[in-house]
């Protein structure tokens, strides 16, 4: 009796709200509904508009161009994409994820943009049994997180490996006598920047480097000239910036103005963005940055061309194809299972082998162990120069002025 009462109340409440909000759009029966929540506005919108959203658009248009995803019974189901803007606000993000799961009743959800949002969304993906194949998420807490959330996957790498590669490259250049022992480090005082910095200091010290400058600046700092002046005054041989999109550009501006003459110049996120090259042209030759790709791979070349053609924008040289690859994983898992059974799809992702633009992927404890860590601008392209077991690493070149 009570349960019937509550059932009635629930139905009428939900009905009233659905009616009031004009929800409950009746989608075509033959589609697979896929949801995506990420920033279209707010501080992270810039990164998402370059790395995240275009790939979803590209993937959906390609899959639907093929006629849709192939099901067990041989039929094809097109993708109906439902997107929400979280405004770079975690409260809004969670709300939108719940809305996708409960109101839109989507079959799958694309993992969010950024490490923090992936963590925030993880309990909700887990609750509704959605696999969460993250692409733009790097952290050293992968083992704890994957243990806690069995449907959570990582593909872009971890902090220590990222930092390790940078130190390794610098150590090698030093040992070859190409640069000296003095390194200047700056970081943006925001989650990723702080984590990278924290991980890097002991590794630099262990490798015998002399850290001559180590300061942070707040996210959104407009004038980085005092920072770069301090860096220059410390007279470093190598410069490392654990930076984010706007300040990656701001630092380069000031490096040019102050004439920071180092033979190794590294900045983190956004160095791989085409907009970085567009702004500075040839002067960024030799700049090292997070990411990099094997641009000689034919699969990747096709992807890059398609990306440009379909979205009208160039893909970035780091996480863009990884985002796309995670969608390929989802696609291949759904087709292999032949249905939208989320449990089966998740299980398949854990054990299956996938052919992606990033090469052949097979998850090991929910993690793709091979990934690019450092890239370098060489002849107007951002090649991978260091990785954990990716094919096609290019040799590192010395930076010669701006």
């Amino acid at each position: 009796m009570l349960s019937r009462m509550t059932g009635f109340i629930k139905m009428s409440l939900a009905g009233a709200i659905v009616f009031a909000l004009g929800l409950g759009s009746a989608g075509a029966a033959e589609t697979i509904k896929i949801g995506a929540v990420a920033p279209k506005t707010g501080p992270l919108a810039v990164g998402a508009s370059i790395t995240h959203w275009p790939n979803i658009k590209l993937w959906v248009s390609q899959v639907n161009g093929r006629g849709g995803l192939r099901m067990k019974d041989g039929s094809r189901r097109k993708i109906q994409l439902i997107t929400y803007d979280d405004q770079t606000n975690p409260t809004e993000h969670i709300k939108a994820t719940i809305r996708l799961a409960t109101l839109d009743k989507v079959d799958f959800i694309v993992a969010p943009y950024g490490t923090g949002f992936n963590v925030a969304a993880a309990p909700h993906f887990a609750k509704y049994g959605y696999p969460q194949i993250t692409s733009t998420s790097i952290t050293d807490k992968i083992p704890q997180l994957t243990k806690r959330f069995p449907g959570l996957f990582f593909t872009l790498g971890n902090t220590t490996a990222f930092v390790g590669s940078v130190v390794e490259i610098l150590a090698k250049l030093r040992d070859q006598g190409k640069i000296g022992n003095r390194v200047a480090i700056v970081n943006v005082a925001a989650d990723f920047g702080i984590e990278l910095k924290k991980a890097s200091i002991p590794i630099f010290k262990k490798a015998g480097f002399n850290i001559v400058y180590n300061k942070s600046y707040p996210l959104g700092t407009q004038d980085l000239s005092p920072v770069m002046r301090g860096v220059k005054a410390s007279n470093p041989d190598a410069f490392v910036a654990w930076s984010y999109p706007p300040d990656t550009i701001g630092l380069t501006v000031q490096a040019k103005i102050q004439g920071l003459d180092v033979k190794a110049y590294y900045s983190a996120v956004a160095t791989a963005f085409p907009v970085y090259r567009n702004k500075f042209g040839k002067s960024i030759e030799g700049v090292l940055g997070a990411g990099g790709l094997n641009l000689d791979s034919p699969a990747l070349q096709t992807y890059m061309a398609d990306h440009k053609r379909v979205t009208g924008k160039e893909a970035d040289f780091w996480a863009s194809p990884v985002v796309y690859a995670t969608l390929q994983v989802l696609e291949q898992a759904i087709e292999a299972v032949g249905s939208t059974d989320r449990k089966a799809v998740t299980a398949y992702i854990k054990s299956g082998t996938f052919t992606t633009v990033m090469g052949t992927w097979k998850f090991k404890n929910q993690v793709i162990p091979s990934f690019w860590t450092v890239g370098q601008w060489q002849n107007g392209k951002f090649y991978g120069v260091s990785s954990t077991g990716m094919p096609g690493e290019k040799p590192v070149a010395i930076k010669r002025g701006w």
């Binding site: 629930k10 506005t41 405004q87 005082a189 702080i194 984590e195 924290k198 707040p218």
Partner: protein
Amino acid sequence: MTRNEGIGWMLAVAGFGAMAFLPLLEDADYLMGLALNITMFTVLATSWALFSGPTHYISLATAAFYGVGATVVAMGFEVLPFPVLLGLAGLAGGVLAALVGLATLRLSGVYFVIFTLGLAELIRQLVSWVQSNIVEVGSIQVFTDNSDNWIYWELLALAALVFLVGWLIERSRLGFAMRIIGNDEVVASHSGIHSAGSKVILFVISGFFAAAVGAVMVTKIINFDPDTFYLPIISFQVVIMALLGGVHRLWGPLLGVIPFTLLWEVIENRFQQPMEMFGVEIVSAGSLKVILLGVCFMLIVYYIPRGVVGRVETLARRLAPGGGASHG
């Protein structure tokens, strides 16, 4: 207790009872999400109005308090039990409010608005600096035993508490003092009222509640990172909801929170998918929401300066023969 108050109490108890019952329904996650949002903003907007209603000061500090509350929990959840942290968070919000209040509340309202406008950003930068240079932690994952249902009940309890506190203030010397200050500050001080002090006390109370909400919410959002907790938009939302509802009645903000939250929901649902017009994508929900926020501000200034409550009261007065003032 007057008859009106009796009815008010019954309504309040019934309302809270019904809301508390919500998590027991099966499959009501969406409703829960909506209810959580409404509850959260009810606490924030009502506590905001406790201060801003009688003083007419526009505080944009909510995001700062909210962030401080979240920060306290994120920093301490591994060492201290959550209830203790909740208290500490509220305390931290109160202390911050006291400092800000003592520096600015002696002066005209403009100084206060300006000071609070950048406060969240200031504290975000300071917390980030500490995270980067002292504790060397980027983002913190706040995994607690706080389940979704409990988080909702905690917010609901805070809402009940904020109404209780508001009701008690109305009946206290402090509430009486605030009404006098709102009428004439010179008379207030010549009657022996410490007007700056009274304002600071109210601001501290509103800071306490906003920080407590932040403390609860961080256990829901799990990932703590100053950039996503010291969000100025929270302050703006709270101001608009409270003013839309009306700040001169305790239950006024509630009448702003509910329609505004639902309106945002409608926009979310209706305008989320990019629309194409002449081959260009136009009006995404994000921009539309910001525009709506702006339109609401202007609507309040030009058409409903006393909020929905004011409208309702005017209407009631017009309908009631004799036209006596209705004091609730």
